[in-house]
Symmetry: C2
Subunit: 154 residues, 2 copies
């Protein structure tokens, strides 16, 4: 007997959340992200998320606030509806990833400052130079690569 699609999807959501937990996103935040990526219908209220994901209303609220803040989720309120509806904002994933790439490239600012402090002592600067060289290259190439990113599929 095979497991149902929804069961497998919830296992997938858990894997999804686990991955982002390693990157510092709270587990429940990751679950919300994964869930909103595959749920039907696409919009959910906080109460629904709380029930589906078996998390307290407080945790849902905190994490939604965070996700809305970074743009990965959008909140929609409607007149005549007391409950706000939340949905994934696929568009924001580009910014999300760009921030990660920038974080890597930004080390170059650090190594650069370090090199300045060691100017006049090339011998001593050798170790830092090797690292600076690599990050210098990345800070050139990563933004350039990013410019070539494809548009979203239709």
């Amino acid at each position: 007997m095979s497991v149902g699609r929804e069961t497998r999807l919830s296992a997938w959501i858990e894997r999804f959340a686990a991955h982002f937990a390693e990157e510092g996103i709270p587990l429940i935040g990751g679950r919300i992200l994964g869930y909103l990526l595959v749920c039907q219908p696409v919009e959910r209220t906080a109460a629904e998320l709380s029930q589906e994901l078996e998390a307290s209303s407080g945790s849902i609220s905190t994490n939604l606030k965070y996700l809305v803040n970074v743009g990965l989720v959008t909140k929609r309120t409607r007149r005549g509806r007391q409950a706000a509806e939340y949905r994934i904002n696929e568009k924001a994933w580009t910014d999300f990833i760009q921030r990660k790439l920038n974080a890597i490239a930004s080390v170059q600012l650090l190594t650069d400052d370090g090199m300045r402090l060691l100017s006049g002592d090339p011998e001593r600067a050798m170790r830092l130079k090797a690292v600076d060289h690599l990050y210098g290259w990345l800070s050139e190439e990563l933004p350039a690569l990013w410019e070539r990113r494809p548009a979203s599929p239709k």
Copy 2:
């Protein structure tokens, strides 16, 4: 009256450590890294690091073990010397960065699995598809970019 170079370097080390602390590397581990990148002479014993960085011998030991493990620092023991000497391994920075890039690209494995679970329901898969598309592109381009990385400067 201007501050000395060593004072400014220790401030730089602190910034350096702070950056990597955000990426999950313990503060003391980051300090060791920064310090070993600029110290003169290049090799230090655990006891010296403990004194210079004002950290307990235990913390130094734990963090050196971690740094040696990921390859960023190498340990050298010498006959006739009870104290091991530690130094930066500039070469290992490439692997270190590659792991970061891989971590980003590896999300594609997740989105791919998700797409499989939603096959047969293109409507519902639309949101995930947008994200999968982006990560698919990254998982092509990042390794390709990495292949073009420059050799260390002489």
